[in-house]
């Protein structure tokens, strides 16, 4: 394997050319998306079928340059690609050099794709994406509205290359930034560039990444660590997952650059256990990068050493907090500790540590290559660059999007996301996960950047955008988040452990129709306590989803508490089962099916449900042959 090691910048360039040519030489290149989303929709079966068909199909080769890794390019090349983002339409298949993008491909479609597209360079129209509003067919990615509003920096090559192949990564320029840093920049120059770019941490806080690096570099202690937070625990967020799965080398390159900048020799990637594919691809990427001399000892012959390890999380949301994460890597309970000392002073193994998240590191290579000024040309002055979001919920197009900071939520939801599913009415968009809050209709035209969003009382967070329509009960949503933060509280500090328990109790009471007059006041008092006294950032922000819904939708709370009604008809215990007297034939089936004898009646007189006895189990609805029972 030593023969494959890159020993200089020149060798990397040569390698890059070789791989580029190899790929160019592929007569037809079929990319089957193999992100978690598409895999779940069955893309691996599509890939298998495509590979099988490819073996039996020959395509004319126009030229055959030297081949780097010995495949026969007389056949079409079938690759797995990283996440294309439009998971909802998966499995996605892209065919180069034609550039056509097929959606919802099944193994049965593969034969037709081969006959029509691979052999005859024609399009299978039924597999094209159709614009949901105009009905127009979209031939390639750039025609699809979902992609139109996006700016892809971090996800630039995610989906266009095979994430399991370092050759493909090298062919698109990965590790060029590292070479530039190692051979043409001093560590302090790298830090300065990152500082100048004003790159801010994408994990939630928005702390200027370069400052962390600078502080670590200035520590007297010389053993230093680079840690990547891939513990994307926010429910409703999968941006980091897609990056780790779809373009692992880019993030690894960012980490190596950080290591060079601060003089670290070891690094750790902490990945959620729920992301097995990310773990697999990162493990492979590290192995490959090490084989190519891009990681490990004497990187590219520069004399710089850096070793990378992967640690899997074990199902604890709190490990997304920096000190809890490092404790977990150390083999301890993932409980946040008091600061100071800060992570930059005493982080992992009590050594100075740079801790950034996946997306932050993934931004670094492009900043080094194109410079701070280029980076600042994207986004807003104080929040430069792009942000990836997981756009989900009641929106037409769900998936992974990357947009410049400063874009409005409206653009994301209505242009990229195509508006609300089923033409329902937009109600709110939840941003920042359990540490964030809701934005309402009136707030949709505010720019999305770290500081503007903060002024609205929410945070950008890691990037979950869950769109909610009129059928969503905001009190239930608040209960949902409180249940989550309470369950995931580490239990260390009193306000978070006991406070979230009590807030949850109140919310559970409210959605069950047992809310009391003073409950809103109690919720606010508890929230105030937790926000100001909890030990860690996650604790301090735990009440935000409640506060945000209380502020934006007070009338929904009022309805639950005073009128014992759920305006969105979501809260089970507030539902009323009613018999429509006009449809009731007095057959008594419902009464016999009722487990609590809440239904009574006489022949020829419509039956009635005693609401005080009804437990809302729904048995009567199933029992009624005349569909006379409805939920109000």
């Amino acid at each position: 394997m030593s023969s494959r090691r890159v020993r200089s910048h020149q060798e990397l360039n040569t390698l890059r050319e070789n791989f580029e040519n190899t790929i160019k030489a592929e007569p037809v290149r079929i990319l089957v998306c193999a992100g978690t989303g598409c895999q779940a929709s069955g893309s691996l079966k599509v890939w298998e079928k495509m590979s099988e068909l490819a073996k039996n199909t020959s395509v004319q080769v126009e030229f055959a340059p030297e081949i780097a890794h010995g495949e026969n390019f007389e056949h079409p090349a079938v690759h797995k690609s990283g996440c294309l983002g439009f998971c909802e339409q998966g499995p996605l298949v892209r065919i180069e050099p034609l550039g056509v993008l097929y959606t919802k491909v099944t193994p049965d479609d593969c034969g037709e794709i081969f006959e029509t597209t691979v052999k005859n360079k024609e399009v299978v129209h039924r597999l094209l994406y159709k614009n949901k509003i105009t009905g127009e067919e979209c031939f390639n990615q750039s025609e699809i509205p979902f992609y139109k509003g996006q700016t892809r920096v971090v996800l630039k090559t995610c989906g266009t290359i095979d994430p399991e192949s370092v050759e493909e990564a090298i062919s698109v320029g990965t590790y060029q930034a590292l070479a530039k840093a190692l051979f043409t920049m001093k560590p302090e120059d790298v830090i300065q560039t990152v500082l100048d770019s004003k790159l801010r941490g994408r994990g939630g806080g928005g702390f200027v990444a370069g400052k962390k690096w600078q502080q670590v570099a200035a520590q007297p202690e010389k053993t230093r660590y680079i840690v990547c937070n891939g513990d994307e625990g926010d429910p409703g967020a999968f941006m980091d997952c897609s990056i780790m799965e779809g373009d692992p080398h880019r993030m690894i390159e960012g980490m190596i650059i950080a290591a060079y900048a601060v003089g670290a020799q070891e690094g750790y990637i902490y990945v959620r256990a729920e992301y097995p594919l990310a773990v697999k691809r990162l493990t492979l990427a590290i192995k490959q990068a090490t084989e190519f001399g891009l990681l490990g000892d004497n990187i590219m012959g520069s004399g710089f050493n850096f070793h990378l390890h992967i640690n899997r999380g074990a199902g604890a949301f709190v490990c997304g907090e920096g000190s809890a994460l490092t404790a977990s890597i150390e083999g301890k309970r993932g409980m946040p500790r008091v600061k100071p000392p800060r992570t930059v002073e005493q982080g992992l193994f009590a050594k100075p540590t740079v801790l950034n998240n996946v997306e932050t590191y993934a931004n670094v290579p492009q900043i080094i290559l194109s410079g701070a000024d280029w980076y600042k040309s994207i986004g807003t002055p104080d929040s430069p660059g792009t942000k990836t979001f997981a756009l989900t919920g009641a929106v037409r197009n769900t998936g992974l999007v990357e947009v410049p900071f400063g874009i409005t939520p409206r653009e994301i939801i209505f242009n990229i996301g195509g508006g609300i599913r089923g033409d329902k009415k937009f109600k709110a968009v939840q941003i920042g996960g359990p540490s964030g809050g809701c934005l309402t209709e009136e707030q949709l035209d505010e720019p999305l950047d770290f500081d503007s969003v903060k002024r609205l009382g929410v945070i950008v967070g890691s990037g979950g955008l869950v769109v909610m329509d009129e059928d969503t009960c905001m009190v239930e949503v608040a209960r949902f988040f409180m249940d989550f933060t309470h369950r995931e509280s580490c239990g260390k500090c009193v306000p978070c452990r006991e406070g979230t328990l009590r807030m949850l109790e109140i919310l559970e009471r409210i959605v069950a129709g047992q809310g009391e007059e003073d409950d809103i006041n109690k919720l606010r008092t508890l929230a105030d306590l937790i926000i100001h006294t909890a030990l860690c950032g996650l604790g301090k922000s735990a009440p935000l989803p409640v506060i945000s819904t209380l502020n934006a939708f007070p009338e929904e709370y009022e309805a639950h508490i005073k009128d014992k009604k759920c305006p969105a008809h979501v809260c089970q215990k507030l539902k009323q089962y009613i018999i429509n007297p006009e449809l009731c034939k007095s057959c008594s089936k419902c009464a016999r099916g009722c487990p609590v004898q809440a239904i009574s009646g006489q022949p020829k007189v419509p039956y009635e449900i005693d609401q005080t006895k009804c437990i809302k189990c729904g048995a009567c609805i199933s029992a009624c042959p005349f569909k006379a029972i409805y939920v109000a």
Partner: protein, 562 residues
């Protein structure tokens, strides 16, 4: 170094590690439930939150003082938050306060009162866990636990045992042994330090008050007590007396009032221990090993050594600990019908220690299958009994301990301090102008502040390398170094509790720095006031070698574990 403003008043600080220490130095008793200056900072209770000029709020236990800083400690907002935090803790706490063992001495209860908590607006979580009575020393009641983690840190950081730790998370979190086993099934050495730091009734002393009290009331039982050195400098404070004052005379009087027929002084036993142990040391020294000789007085340490370092068990002195010495000799004494008056005899030790409750049960310390001591009561239990009987402690006239086991040397009394056993033992080796030698020994390093003190003693022109260590984590490190050949000593004194028995697991809790220092000085002061400095000059101790013991040293004064 610098000056900061606390509630408007300038306060200078030097090397205080955190703002909380500066606040306390300024005379403000900021409430905390998870802060102990000797333990690592945990930051869980959030009670010590303070506000700076900008209204920023932070925990003062974990923030460093900075010059020019200005903070407020009791704004209405802070007081409100503190009250709410206590309310939240109380809501999940088993609130049987009026019948709780900790009633009146509970830090949570005190804070609730101090902060004006007069109702708990949250639902009550019913108690759901069993109490653990498996240990002879402590009782665990998880429903009283507020998860401050003090016990976990003292057990792990200071003692290196880690018998209990947090388990589960969130509101399910508990402090328990692995798999919620009984504490008796763990490596617990019964030191009771967890109980000392526990602010509530979650860990308490396994009390033996009742059987003792019943015996006291029984005319057919002759009950005698022996009082350990450290008890006398800790009890007075509980009755409003000055910290660290030696109140042995009043203790003797109070115990007589409670009905103890005789009250002896464990200092006598300590002298016996020294007599035997120094003989043993000289033998080992002359034989050239095995080194180091390790002291045997501390049962928590002995158990620790057996659990963790079986290779060093043979190095532990076979001499009985002071309580066993006196217990064993008194047994012989009361075997004589002239002394037992035809009654049953009950032997009670009043100890600063919870581990002694376990020590008396050890098989290798039994003679003819019978314990040398029937019950151990801790200082806390003794105080409880005196209070329960309504005895006005402060008004008592001092009484002398009863003879023949009521007299001890200065060497015997300092046993309660870390370094005291070593100092007493080495005193017996002092020759020449004795006062001068003893003074020289005192200055040698055997006394001092560190958890580990190493020094050299000159004996007849030879160097004796000695070490004194307290706290089992520190002891563990020392043994590791000896094991690795990195350190060498002839003689090592180990006490499980930091600073020795004065801070034992059975002593009144809430001992701050001043209390610790006062207790230490109290014992040293008692030594100064004693005419006889050396154990081998205690005439009553020497006398029994010709009477009660008569050549039976091995049988009556040594353990038979090896």
């Amino acid at each position: 170094m610098g000056t900061m403003k606390i509630d408007g008043y300038p306060v200078e600080f030097t090397d205080e590690p955190n703002i909380l220490s500066v606040i306390r130095k300024a005379g403000i008793d900021l409430p905390t439930l998870c802060y102990h200056s000797e333990l690592s900072i945990y930051g869980a209770c959030r009670l010590c939150n303070v506000e700076d000029e900008k209204g920023r709020m932070f925990a003062s236990c974990s923030e460093r003082p900075r010059d020019g800083m200005s903070i407020k400690t009791s704004t209405p907002r802070l007081v409100r938050y503190r009250r709410m935090l206590i309310e939240l803790m109380l809501a999940s706490h088993h609130r049987d306060c009026t019948t709780c063992v900790k009633n009146g001495d509970c830090e949570l209860q005190n804070l609730a009162h101090r902060l004006g908590v007069n109702s708990v607006p949250w639902g009550y979580r019913q108690p759901k866990h069993k109490k653990d009575f498996s240990s002879p020393s402590i009782v665990r009641d998880p429903d009283k636990c507020i998860l401050c983690g003090d016990c976990v840190r003292v057990c792990d950081d200071i003692q290196g045992i880690n018998a209990i730790d947090f388990a589960n998370r969130g509101t399910e979190a508990m402090v328990i042994p692995a798999f919620n086993k009984s504490i008796a099934d763990t490596d617990c050495v019964n030191c009771g330090q967890c109980r000392v730091v526990c602010p509530t009734g979650a860990i308490s002393i396994n009390t033996n008050i009742r059987p003792v009290w019943e015996a006291l009331a029984d005319p057919n039982i002759k009950v005698f007590a022996q009082v350990a050195p450290a008890v006398r400098v800790a009890a007075g404070q509980a009755f409003g007396g000055p910290k660290g004052e030696n109140v042995m005379g009043k203790i003797v009087a109070a115990l007589h009032r409670l009905g103890f027929d005789e009250v002896y002084d464990t200092t006598f036993g300590a002298d016996m221990t020294i007599l035997e142990e120094s003989k043993e040391f000289l033998e080992v020294y002359k034989k050239g090993g095995p080194f180091p000789l390790l002291t045997s007085c501390c049962p928590a340490w002995v158990k620790f050594c057996e659990n963790r370092w079986p290779e060093f068990v043979p190095n532990i002195s076979t001499s009985y600990s002071p309580i066993q010495m006196l217990g064993s000799i008194a047994r012989e004494y009361y075997a004589d019908p002239a002394h037992n008056e035809g009654k049953k005899i009950l032997s009670v030790g009043i100890m600063p220690c919870t581990a002694k409750k376990a020590e008396i049960l050890r098989e290798d310390l039994k003679r003819d299958g019978k314990q040398n001591i029937d019950y151990v009561l801790t200082t806390e239990e003794m105080i409880t009994m005196i209070k329960r009987a309504g005895i006005d402690f402060n008004e008592l006239e001092s009484e002398a301990a009863d003879m023949p086991f009521g007299m001890g040397s200065g060497g015997g009394v300092i046993f309660g301090n870390s370094g005291g056993v070593m100092e007493a033992a080495l005193r017996t080796l002092c020759e020449g102008s004795e006062r001068l030698e003893i003074e020289k020994l005192r200055q040698s390093g055997v006394r001092g502040p560190g958890a580990l003190r190493e020094f050299v003693f000159n004996y007849k022109g030879n160097e004796i390398k000695a070490a004194v260590v307290s706290g089992l984590a520190e002891a563990n490190a020392l043994l590791q170094r000896i094991h690795n050949g990195e350190s060498f000593y002839h003689f090592v004194e180990v006490m499980a509790c930091r600073r020795g028995c004065i801070m034992g697991g059975g002593q009144p809790a809430h001992g701050g720095y001043k209390t610790k220092e006062a207790r230490k000085h109290g014992l040293y002061e008692s030594d100064v006031n004693t005419q006889i400095k050396k154990s081998n000059e205690n005439p009553t101790a020497l006398a029994i070698y010709d009477t009660l013991i008569k050549g039976r040293e091995h049988e009556l004064l040594h353990s038979h574990k090896h």
